[in-house]
């Protein structure tokens, strides 16, 4: 089942000093294929949609709108949506509003450390076009240049109801098998990496943070 495309060779990891290079893995990720049996794939997609583990990483000011989602008023647990403290176990990455260059670096690391299939939801107007920070020296304007986004929820800030609607929309997308950000990222890894490295000047981590 695991078809590893090694034609492109391992990653260069040239942001690291030579001594540091063998501390990190330099393997190149490969996209996964759907399950050979379609029913299984559909079933699993349904399950994935109903078991959304969100990475609890407040990347921007919008993260403050995520907390009410878990309270009695909105109770996102009903929809199988729950926070998870480590990227390893999470499947949904909520980008909480604007992303500064410095945060973007951490977002990339965390995103790459999540295990596929994984989904990205960007909330607020800032990830879309920079929002009120459009002219900042420090805030990215088009978030999807760096990370594949499955769903944008716009607004400054979007209220929890909107977020909830977004979650439901995401579930629909997953069920239909259209949330393919994970594979898109890996298939276009070089493009994404070039974009990322253009703005992140001190790239002192491996090219792909396993």
């Amino acid at each position: 089942m695991t078809t590893k495309d090694q034609s492109l060779g391992p990653l260069a990891n040239d942001g690291l000093s030579p001594e540091e290079r063998d501390l990190f893995s330099d393997a190149r990720p490969v996209p996964y294929q759907p399950y050979p049996i379609e029913v299984v794939e559909k079933f699993v997609n349904w399950v994935r949609a109903n078991s959304l583990f969100m990475l609890a990483f407040g990347t921007g000011c919008g993260a403050v709108e995520l907390n009410p989602l878990m309270t009695a008023r909105y109770d996102a647990y009903r929809f199988g949506f729950q926070p998870r403290p480590t990227p390893r176990q999470a499947s949904v990455f909520m980008i909480g509003g604007y992303a500064s260059v410095k945060t973007l670096k951490r977002i990339i690391r965390s995103y790459e450390q999540m295990q596929g299939p994984k989904f990205v939801v960007a909330l607020g107007i800032c990830p879309v076009n920079g929002g009120m920070y459009w002219d900042s020296y420090n805030t990215v304007n088009q978030f999807d240049l760096y990370i594949p986004v499955d769903l944008y929820i716009t607004g400054c800030m979007p209220r929890p109801e909107v977020l909830l609607a977004g979650v439901l929309e995401l579930k629909k997308k997953i069920k239909e098998g259209r949330a393919d950000g994970h594979n898109r990222y890996i298939e276009n890894l070089d493009w994404y990496k070039a974009n990322q490295k253009r703005i992140i000047k001190n790239w002192d981590m491996p090219d792909y943070s396993w």
């Binding site: 001594e19 501390l23 893995s25 399950y35 990483f57 951490r106 690391r109 943070s209 396993w210």
Partner: protein, 1046 residues
């Protein structure tokens, strides 16, 4: 003509004549004088030794009365076996001593003659049977000594000589007065005649006479506190002279005492007290000494005190037939060792003990020093060992526990300062190795060899099968002779010889001995195999290893307490020396030795009291002890508990186990430590099973002690950063369980003890060997400097993994069986509280075990360890054997439990029932075979499921740095590896419970001992007049003491 020349009287005449002629001849030709001096000495030695041989062959003793006139106007000599022996020894020391004085005598012809006269005086003191003659010879000796001191012409010598002459003059005055009074009472001066008229020596006059006579001689022996005058001497004169004073003069004086003791029947307790006080006080003061010669001086005085004590006590008890063995042994031991040490002090010529560092790099010198010190400290096989053994036996038999205590305490103190000195000599500092002319070592070496030879002779004479008992020693000597060979060859030789020797030994044993034969010998052999991994020569290691392994065999073969104790002491000595080879062991070896000796002495006392009751030294006859069974059992148990590292008595253990060389640590913890368990079981088997006296209460206390050790060991192990220290504390804890199991004293308990012992051997050998490989590869013992080594040392990792599962008691490996048996035994006995504590201790043990494996093998690997290789296969091979054993015993516990149960068969009612593979007790049941199968099943099925699922996942192998690190990248492995102070919160939680109380207590004991030493020394003002006054006071005190008795 020849016969005439050889007449004993010539010992006096020749020395005297040449002595007076020498100064004259020296004026004309110094070289002729020197030639004559040597010739005379040789002649003296010749006479005495020829006579010694003749007397040994059974020739009658010679009585010499000169000039046909009766004493006191002529000389009356008696030359029997003892006399010949002592005179020969003195002459030998004199001639060998003058070897060291060649340069000294070149400029001092007069000294040569005084030296001769001194020898003559001593011979006279030994030989004469006439009190007045004795007085004369005492005077001659004293004057000659003074002469030697005065001719040295240095202010210090002069001052010392002055004090000396004042005191000895006083002494001889008293002696003369006493002689007069006795003559008045008995009308004779001959000791033998006086003995015939003992009945006349009565009343106040008789008393005064006795006291004066006694005091006269005793003062010569420098009793504490009236001995301040005698000690400067050792420091100031050349080593050869000091040796002569220490050995020769004291020998003469002591022989004089020996002669007059029969006259002093009533005063014997006082004499004993004088000896005992001197022995103890001098050794206390010796602790404070940093000057080698002064220290040796105190040791001399102490030895004289011990001999005085022994002599008096043996006469008191009417056991004069043991005088030969006890006094003879102690005497020859003292003579050879002390003379040798003084000479050595002269050869090395470093006044301070601290300055002796670097001797390690002069192997011959070190070996000689080692032999002499071992002899002096009473280690086997030297004559002092036999003497002390018999002395303790007789003291115990005579129901004199106080004196037993004094003798043992004094000996312990003496060993403390002697071995502190040796510790300096063992220090590794090549730049400070002394330069010594080999020729100078001949006499010392000769004495060292004589000590070995006499040791053998005494053993032979005692009727022991000397070659068998002494086999560890001979192995040591033989291997030492072969020490030039390549390391691995020597290792193979040791192992081969051991295998050949041990196989029939094990085959010939049965019961408990057989079980421990397997544990100690088979286990020892397997673990000792690991020494092969080092290819360097390891000078000195293999002889000592041979000695150690063979002494284990001897321990098992021992049928009498004497043989047992002999082997035990050899084991102690060889482990001490082996530990001292560790690089950082210096600080810990003295503690190790002190506790080991303390333990040995407790055992000795125990054996002594057993002998006292039954009159037998057979081990089997220990079970006949009834009246003093509690005492004997307590002493033996305490002794063995010290070696088992029970809480409070464990302070020696961590240092010794961790600082010994890495492969030896395994042997030390896994095998040598088990000797104590063997001893405990032996003692319990013979004494505790009957439950006489208060033994059950003792066992109850022991059960708590064992578990407290288990808990303390586990808690201390939590906080160690040093991987070997962790294992050392772990050993302490695990042995604690064994001790408790023994204390349960039922079939379940002892089977548990045997099971735990075997298991501890397996897993601790495994862990120590694995750690040895680890330390060897990484070059560090600190766990936080390691990490992530599983990929580099996978086999070692598996060893440690199996080891910790076996230790922690997690099913299905062997550890659980031990815990199950132990807890069942405790429940069965009704010791519920102990069971709770045992549980808790084993849970705490789980913590340090995880830390061991985590911080070393898991977590982040340091960049420096990137290219480390797996440990040598020679080191892994014994580990594999041990793993195989653990696995086999895990699958078939019956393999292990059946033999253990059979070795205790018939002692207790059966409490273990086999039902197929199921083991049942009154309370519970356990089917080890089934458990391991079930566990294998529940482990393998999920594993297969996971492997299947893995086919549908792309599992990427990543490095340890590919972690979620709060979205950051880890900085360096050092900062990412959580290892240092791993259980700091536990320390915080338990707080004051974890203070090192035992260490503080023993530090206190050491401190107090030194303080006592200082306090006792306050009396020494250095002022001659004060010393003279002390002598007078002393006489008065003795008079009062004796009068009070009368």
């Amino acid at each position: 003509m020849v016969e005439g020349l050889l007449a004993p009287i010539n010992l006096i005449i020749a020395a005297l004549g040449v002595g007076f002629l020498l100064p004259l001849i020296a004026r004309s030709s110094a070289s002729i004088a020197r030639g004559l001096f040597w010739l005379t000495q040789v002649f003296l030695l010749l006479i005495s030794s020829v006579w010694l041989l003749r007397l040994i062959d059974g020739a009658p003793a010679v009585e010499v009365i000169t000039a046909g006139i009766q004493p006191p106007f002529a000389i009356n000599l008696y030359f029997g076996l003892f006399e010949a022996f002592v005179v020969s020894a003195v002459n030998l020391s004199a001639i060998l001593g003058s070897w060291y004085l060649i340069d000294y005598f070149k400029s001092r012809a007069a000294s040569m003659s005084v030296y001769l006269i001194l020898t003559m005086g001593i011979s006279g003191m030994v030989m004469t049977r006439d009190l007045f003659n004795l007085f004369i010879f005492i005077e001659i000796t004293a004057l000659a000594t003074y002469g030697l001191l005065a001719l040295d012409k240095r202010p210090a010598s002069l001052a010392a000589g002055f004090k000396y002459i004042i005191a000895t003059s006083l002494a001889s005055t008293f002696f003369l007065l006493g002689t007069m009074l006795l003559y008045h009472l008995t009308g004779t001066l001959n000791i033998d005649d006086m003995l015939l008229h003992m009945d006349r020596i009565t009343g106040p006059v008789g008393l005064a006479a006795g006291v004066l006579l006694l005091v006269g001689v005793i003062i010569e022996l420098k009793p504490y506190p009236a001995n301040g005058w005698g000690l400067d001497v050792y420091e100031t004169v050349p080593a050869g002279v000091a040796a002569m004073i220490s050995v020769g003069v004291s020998a003469g004086a002591f022989f004089a005492l020996y002669k007059i003791v029969p006259l002093l029947g009533d005063f014997l307790p006082v004499v004993a007290a004088v000896g005992g006080a001197t022995f103890l006080a001098s050794n206390f003061i010796g602790l404070r000494q940093r000057n080698v010669r002064r220290m040796l001086g105190y040791s001399s005085v102490a030895q004289m005190g011990l001999m005085t004590l022994a002599l008096a006590v043996l006469y008191m008890l009417g056991k004069s037939e043991y005088v030969t063995l006890v006094i003879g042994g102690l005497f020859i031991n003292h003579l050879l060792a002390k003379a040798g040490l003084f000479w050595l002090a002269g050869v090395v010529d470093r006044p301070r003990t601290e300055a002796w560092v670097g001797l390690r790099h002069r192997p011959i010198l070190l070996v000689i020093l080692g032999i002499l010190l071992a002899a002096l400290a009473g280690f086997p096989p030297f004559p002092g060992f036999w003497g002390k053994w018999e002395l303790i036996m007789q003291l115990s038999a005579g129901e004199l526990p106080f004196w037993v205590f004094v003798v043992l305490l004094g000996s312990l103190l003496e060993a403390a300062y002697l071995y502190r000195w040796f510790g300096f000599a063992l220090q590794d500092d090549e730049t400070r190795a002394p330069a010594v002319e080999p020729v100078k070592l001949i006499p010392v070496g000769l004495f060292a060899l004589s000590l070995l030879a006499t040791g053998h002779l005494v053993a032979d004479w005692l009727g022991l099968e000397a070659p068998r008992v002494l086999v560890p020693i001979y192995m040591g000597i033989i291997l030492y002779a072969l020490d030039g060979m390549p390391g691995r060859l020597k290792a193979l030789l040791v192992l081969g010889a051991f295998a050949v020797y041990a196989y029939p030994v094990v085959m010939g044993l049965e019961g408990l001995h057989w079980l421990f034969g397997l544990i100690l010998l088979l286990g020892g052999g397997v673990i000792a195999f690991a020494v092969l991994h080092r290819s360097d020569a390891r000078r000195g290691f293999y002889p000592l290893l041979g000695m150690l392994l063979f002494s284990l065999a001897s321990l098992l073969e021992a049928s009498s307490t004497l043989e047992f104790f002999f082997a035990w002491e050899v084991l102690t000595l060889s482990s001490y020396l082996l530990i001292s080879m560790g690089r950082g062991a210096r600080e810990h070896i003295l503690t190790f030795l002190m506790f080991s000796l303390g333990s040995a002495f407790l055992i000795l006392a125990g054996f002594g009291f057993a002998y006292g009751e039954t009159g037998s030294i057979l081990l089997a006859d220990l079970s006949k002890v009834e009246k003093s069974a509690t005492l004997v059992f307590m002493l033996l148990t305490l002794g063995f508990l010290v070696k088992a590292g029970a809480a409070g008595l464990h302070v020696w253990l961590p240092g010794a186990y961790s600082e010994a060389e890495d492969d030896f640590s395994a042997l030390l913890s896994a095998v040598v430590g088990k000797a104590a368990i063997f001893g405990l079981l032996l003692a319990a088997m013979h004494l505790a099973v009957n439950g006489v006296g208060a033994i059950n209460q003792v066992l109850y206390v022991v059960s708590w002690l064992g578990l407290i050790s288990a808990l303390v060991g586990a808690l201390m192990a939590l906080f160690q950063e040093d991987v070997k220290k962790l294992l050392a504390y772990s050993s302490m804890g695990q042995v604690g369980y064994i001790v408790t199991a023994i204390a349960v004293s039922s079939q379940l308990g002892w089977v548990a003890a045997g099971y735990l012992t075997v298991n501890h051997l397996l897993f601790k050998g495994l862990l120590f060997l694995a750690v040895a490989g680890l330390v060897y590869q990484t070059g560090t013992r600190l766990m936080y400097q390691m990490g992530g080594l599983i990929k580099n040392l996978p086999m070692t990792y598996i060893s440690v993994l199996i080891g910790i599962i076996a230790i922690s008691g997690v099913p299905p490996l062997t550890g659980f069986g031990g815990k199950w048996l132990l807890l069942n035994a405790l429940f069965d006995k009704g010791w519920y509280w102990q069971a709770g504590l045992a549980f808790f201790a084993s849970a705490v043990a789980f913590l340090y075990l995880f830390r061991l494996i985590h911080t070393v093998f898991l977590g982040q690997r340091k960049q420096a360890h990137k290219d480390l290789r797996e440990a040598s296969w020679l080191l892994l091979f014994p580990q594999i054997l041990l793993i195989v054993a653990i696995m086999a015993f895990s699958i078939w516990p019956k393999l292990l439990i059946d033999p253990i149960a059979s070795s205790f068969a018939g002692i207790f009612p059966e409490a273990l029932i086999w039902d197929g593979t199921m083991l049942k007790t009154r309370l519970g049941y356990w089917d080890g075979f089934m458990v391991i199968n079930i566990v294998a099943g529940v482990f393998l099925v999920p594993l297969l499921i996971l492997l299947f699922l893995s086919r549908f996942m792309q599992i990427q192998k990543v490095k340890q740095f590919n972690i979620v690190f709060a979205a950051e990248r880890p900085e360096t492995p050092e900062t990412t590896h959580y290892a240092y102070n791993f259980f700091s919160f536990y320390e915080k939680a338990l707080g004051p419970l974890l203070k090192p109380r035992a260490t503080a207590f023993w530090d206190g004991v050491s401190e107090w001992s030194h303080t006592i030493g200082s306090t006792l020394r306050v009396l020494y003002t250095g002022n001659g007049q004060t010393y003279a006054l002390y002598v007078l006071f002393y006489v008065v005190m003795i008079y009062i003491a004796v009068g009070g008795m009368g």
